[in-house]
């Protein structure tokens, strides 16, 4: 049973004038045709392989024909894949044909010239830096590669890789013990124990000192980061644990012999949680305002991270700024979150950021602020936010003073000034600025308003 239809052979024979063809001959010829076609395809596959492609093209077939010293078939060269149409010549007898458009010469000649294809060009990017793939737009995201088997599995595989790439499942974790040396495991356990030991200050500070200075911790970095992430997600109510986690990150950042750039994306979420988290610590135990200290610390940590690694990752700052702005603009979030995001925005984006991100949003925010100040339960928190905003505005003042961009006069005074400030900054902040009554500050702010 040959794939090639023997009736085809009869058709061809009739077309060149041979009407009588022996059945055996037809059969033989059909079989031969099939074999020849496969021979051509085998050769064509070779051309495909050397073209480093995985799809066969008509060009490959004509190259193969040329190699086999057969006259190539012309007219089938196309860079687009051939589209096959299907027609039925009877029940269950589909006929496939190449769809060939009819072209009107008139139209073809008068048609505008097709677009010139774009010029071939190349771009360069880092596919890997010191064995870790940076998460930049040019590289696939982890979701893209989920269906690919990338890391070796099973015993004998290197679990360190899995830990780095974030595929670290619970089931894989015990394998860690096989990779890290006994000493390092012990060290890791001891450090983690010491850090969370509330009773022994000396022990704890020794642990941090070790993290800050020890040059041989590189292998443990992913585990410490994992540790921090775990603690932060699971102990949001525990102010002590959160603070210690931030201190661990600070210590790691301070360690000069560690190269943390590849891990920055995994550090940021933990820090952001401590910065803009809805409820940090429990008010009953720690008092209603202790969490502001943690937020202060997280903000300074974040700003030091962006200062250090911002230059090597162009999207780092904008990404953080965007998420902070989002939580600032969400009025359903508690004041603590707003406090944290204002703080972070001030530190990361600088005076320029305050001008373009915070100042324009103060007016709509005013209503929320006023409500907070009137509510006894929330007043204290709201005041923190007011202070944070004031501090942000002061950076604008300082910046303006440094650049000397202030015009010397031409601004109203007294009640007019107060009104101007209130329409611009909202009632609470406007009044506050007016009460301070520092010329440089008001001027800088009015300048900003003029720009907007």
């Amino acid at each position: 049973m040959s794939v090639w239809n023997s009736e085809n052979v009869i058709d061809v024979a009739e077309s060149i004038g041979i009407t009588q063809l022996n059945r055996d001959a037809v059969d033989h010829l059909a079989r031969d045709v099939e074999f020849r076609i496969s021979q051509v395809l085998e050769e064509a596959l070779k051309f495909m392989r050397h073209g480093k492609r995985t799809t066969l093209t008509t060009q490959d077939v004509s190259q193969a024909l040329r190699l086999l010293e057969v006259e190539p078939l012309y007219g089938y060269e196309s860079t687009r894949p051939l589209r096959f149409g299907e027609a039925s010549i009877g029940p269950g007898q589909p006929l496939f044909y190449v769809e060939d458009e009819e072209m009107d010469f008139e139209k073809l000649i008068n048609a505008p010239l097709p677009k010139v294809p774009r010029e071939m060009s190349f771009t360069a990017h880092w596919l890997a830096v010191e064995g870790v793939q940076p998460s930049i737009p040019q590289n696939p995201t982890q979701a893209d590669q989920r269906n690919q088997e990338l890391a070796a599995k099973g015993p004998g595989a290197n679990p360190h890789l899995a830990a780095v790439s974030g595929n670290d499942n619970v089931s894989v974790k015990p394998l860690v013990k096989h990779v890290l040396s006994k000493e390092l495991q012990l060290y890791f356990e001891r450090i983690c124990g010491a850090i969370l030991d509330e009773t022994n200050d000396e022990y704890r500070s020794a642990a941090f000192a070790s993290l800050k200075t020890d040059p041989g911790l590189h292998q443990l970095v992913p585990y410490f980061i994992q540790f921090v992430a775990d603690k932060v997600t699971h102990s949001l109510k525990n102010m002590f644990v959160l603070t210690q986690s931030m201190l661990v990150i600070a210590a790691l950042l301070e360690n000069a012999s560690l190269y943390l750039a590849p891990y920055v994306p995994s550090i940021i979420p933990s820090v952001l949680t401590c910065l803009v988290g809805k409820h940090l610590g429990s008010a009953s135990q720690d008092g209603p305002t202790t969490h502001f200290a943690l937020r202060d610390y997280a903000a300074s940590l974040l700003s030091s991270i962006t200062r250090k690694y911002g230059p090597s990752s162009s999207t780092l700052k904008p990404r953080i700024a965007r998420s902070c702005l989002k939580s600032f603009l969400d009025s359903h979030k508690p004041f603590g979150t707003h406090y944290g995001s204002i703080l972070a925005l001030t530190m990361i984006a600088g005076p320029e950021g305050v001008r373009s991100l915070i100042v324009p949003n103060l007016l709509p925010y005013d209503a929320h602020l006023q409500r907070g100040l009137k509510d006894d339960g929330k007043r204290e928190q709201a005041e923190y936010v007011v202070n944070a905003i004031m501090r942000a505005l002061e950076t604008v003042e300082k910046d303006a003073a440094e650049t000397g961009a202030l015009q010397q006069n031409g601004y109203p005074e007294g009640e007019v000034l107060k009104e101007r400030l209130e329409t611009m900054l909202g009632e609470v902040i406007g009044t506050k600025v007016y009460e301070i009554g520092r010329q440089s500050l008001t001027k800088a702010l009015l300048e900003t308003a003029a720009d907007i």
Partner: protein, 730 residues
């Protein structure tokens, strides 16, 4: 050629009822008087013999007369006469037998089935049983689909006797003997079985074995290693079914290229050391280094360049270096001196990738990869090549031209540029009349200009030439100073698949679809050497770092890697073991290992001095590994392929594996690991999953996926940075 008439089974078969004794004579009468007479005659003679007491003669006559039917025609009871079905019967027989045999023989004997399958199929075709052939093929191809996919695809369309000789694979199997080595016990068992089942098909198999096989028997205890009992036990659970190293069509004494059946077991000696430096050049380099040391004294803890150089010379073994006299090179120039000096400098300053012992437990060294992605290619790019000084990148296209860009955005100038127009950022080299499949830059080394400012006569170290091979069967040499074609080398009869410049320049080698590789030198238009021996296209090519050897690899039915000595033009090593078409080759800078990769996603490491397989590594998806390269210390291998990943491999053999003395090869890493851990129910699940997915062997250190960009080229720079090139194909 007509099908023989069906066997006539009218007569009785077994001797017991034969002899015509019980057969009523009357039944035979229609046959005619003559036949009846003969029957009577037999009767009479038998009676006579029994009366005389010649009992043995009588028995003989009875037996012999049993094979004739009533008409005196011989009855076709012999196995050979039942037509095409005899092959099916015989194959079923031996397959069932092997399936039920003791486990210790099974892995070895299973290897015999594939060549028997091929020869039976070819036999059916040649004897003109197309229908039986197809049935046979469909019935029995199952077990081979995994390993011999390509071969099965090539075999399937065969259906006429003349095809057997015309198809590549048919010719290959028919004209050569397939070599298989069995341990002596397995061999004996097989032979005994075939003899005892002579009539049910054993004879057919014996004949096939005699005519088309080169069966060897070795003593299991003596052979050790790959044939040892330990290896066998390790393989039993995993279905690691891989060809032995010496199995296959150009069967050989593992490693050796001597195909003679009685070839001596000693391997020809190789000179794998680096090429010694010319004495004049050495003096110049030393002088230059001394100058540099004087002007830039080494920093604390750093060797002086001179020490570094001396150390390198000292480390070189003196006994296995190729002789400079036998491989002539043009006299060295100032450019060579500058390049050598830079090599010494880089050797001192580079980021080292040390061996496992130097690493901190288990973590691979951090490799940095720069990826160059080509856009708007419309899949016309056939190859990408980076120059040795990392200043240029060239692509060869299906549209017959070569295009060269500068990697650092420098304009590509020539002296003949018309004044006033800015020099273009890229150059097209037009001249070929067929798709360009390979390009290679002449050797070059980047010399940073800032620390060379003190030496006023800094020679140009840019690559000066480019060779390209194309489907138009020609090789062209291009000048990168004038951006024009200098020489056309004609000599190949078929498309040129690969060209590579010698690591020292001046020579280059090419591999072609005409099954040969050739050695050329740039000033001669005729090839200096022709390396013939592959049974299929020579598809990939690599140089040994000392320039005295060339490696070629082949696909199709051959699938071998061969090592050729340049001076004598003869093959010195032959490596078999690939099951797919070999797509890339790379020799380690240390000169002792060769890595080869195929389009089934497997990388094999070969040990050159012993000619043996070192290990197999899997991980790439299907579709071809297009490029391989070694780091300068020969401790890491990097690969890039059609699955759009760059992967980094540990080339050292697994210590655990060695400790268990399973085999030097550590073959089939992941599969075996499955087996070792097996026993629980989980291993069954893992195994069935592994069949679908690509198994990643534990030798892989890391894998970096790209965004829909197959990787065409990977290269370690002298400073151990990986440069990768690919085309974005959305």
């Amino acid at each position: 050629m007509a099908q023989p008439p069906p066997p006539q089974r009218t007569g009785s078969v077994g001797p017991a009822s034969a002899g015509g004794m019980g057969a009523p004579q009357s039944a035979n009468t229609p046959g005619g008087q003559g036949q009846g007479g003969q029957q009577n005659l037999n009767q009479i003679v038998l009676e006579y013999l029994s009366k005389k007491g010649y009992s043995r003669t009588e028995a003989m006559l009875r037996r012999e007369s049993a094979h004739t039917d009533a008409n005196g025609q011989p009855i076709l009871t012999r196995f050979d006469d039942i037509g095409g079905r005899k092959y099916t019967k015989a194959f079923t027989l031996v397959q069932n037998w092997i399936d039920n045999i003791l486990d210790i023989y099974k892995p070895e004997l299973r290897r015999v089935l594939w060549p028997i399958f091929v020869h039976f199929f070819l036999g059916l075709i040649a004897d003109f049983f197309p229908r039986d052939a197809e049935d046979f093929f469909q019935t029995f191809k199952g077990p081979f689909e995994n390993e011999h996919e390509d071969d099965l695809r090539a075999l399937a369309p065969l259906n006429l006797p003349e095809h057997v000789q015309q198809s590549e694979i048919g010719k290959l199997y028919r004209d050569n003997r397939y070599r298989i080595t069995l341990s002596s016990m397995a061999y004996m068992t097989l032979m005994q079985f075939l003899e005892s089942h002579d009539r049910e098909g054993g004879s057919l198999i014996t004949t096939t074995l005699n005519t088309h096989f080169d069966l060897r028997s070795v003593d299991r205890a003596n052979a050790g290693g790959a044939r040892g009992l330990a290896k066998l036990l390790a393989d039993r659970n995993g279905d690691a079914d891989e060809p032995a190293e010496d199995e296959g069509i150009p069967g050989h004494n593992a490693g050796s290229a001597n195909l003679d059946r009685n070839a001596p077991t000693v391997l020809s000696k190789l000179s794998l050391g680096p090429m010694p430096m010319e004495s004049d050049l050495m003096e110049d380099v030393k002088a230059e280094l001394q100058d540099l040391d004087a002007s830039n004294p080494p920093k604390a803890g750093q060797n002086s360049l001179m020490d570094e150089f001396e150390e390198r010379i000292k480390r070189e073994p003196m006994d296995d270096v190729p002789s400079r006299d036998t491989l002539p090179f043009p006299p060295s120039t100032a450019r060579d001196v500058a390049m050598e000096v830079q090599k010494v400098k880089e050797n001192r300053d580079r980021f080292r990738i040390e061996g496992r012992d130097g690493r901190s437990g288990g973590i691979g060294p951090g490799v940095s990869v720069t990826m160059f992605t080509f856009h708007n290619t419309f899949d016309t790019v056939n190859c990408i090549e980076f120059s040795g000084d990392n200043s240029l990148v060239a692509i060869g296209t299906a549209e017959s031209y070569i295009r060269v860009w500068s990697l650092d955005n420098q304009p590509l100038v020539t002296a003949s540029d018309p004044a006033g127009t800015p020099p273009p950022a890229s150059r097209r080299l037009i001249g070929h009349s067929g798709a360009v499949y390979a390009i290679s830059f002449s050797p070059s080394i980047a010399i940073p200009t800032n620390d060379h400012a003190d030496s006023p006569t800094s020679p140009d170290s840019r690559p000066r030439y480019l060779v390209s091979g194309s489907a138009d069967k020609s090789i062209r040499l291009w000048s990168l100073d004038t951006w024009t074609n200098l020489v056309v080398y004609n000599g190949h009869q078929s498309p040129v698949w690969d060209v590579r410049f010698c690591p020292h320049g001046h020579y280059f080698a090419s591999a072609s679809a005409d099954r040969t590789a050739m050695l050329w030198s740039t000033p001669h238009i005729a090839p200096l050497r022709i390396f013939a021996g592959h049974d299929s296209d020579a598809e990939a090519l690599a140089w040994h770092p000392n320039g005295a050897y060339v490696f070629t690899a082949s696909g199709g039915g051959d699938k071998t890697v061969r090592m050729w000595e340049i001076v004598r033009g003869s093959a010195v090593r032959l490596f078999t073991g690939h099951t797919g078409n070999v797509t890339a080759l790379a020799c380690s800078p240390s000169g002792h290992f060769l890595a080869s990769a195929d389009d089934r996603g497997e990388i094999i490491l070969w040990n050159l001095p012993t000619g043996r397989l070192q290990k197999r590594m899997r991980g790439h998806g299907r579709g071809g590994i297009w490029s391989l390269d070694w780091c300068v210390e020969s401790t890491l291998l990097v690969s890039g392929g059609a699955d759009g990943t760059v992967r980094v491999w540990d080339v050292q053999s697994n210590k655990e594996t060695q400790g268990k003395a399973i085999s030097e090869g550590g073959a089939g890493g992941a599969a075996k690991m499955d087996g070792a851990s097996g026993g629980g129910a989980s291993s069954g699940v893992a195994k069935s999953k592994a069949k679908k997915d690509v198994v990643v062997s534990p030798d892989q250190i890391s894998a970096f996926p790209t965004k829909k960009s197959p990787v065409y080229k990977v290269r370690f720079t002298q400073m151990n940075l990986v440069v990768a090139g690919g085309a974005y194909l959305p």
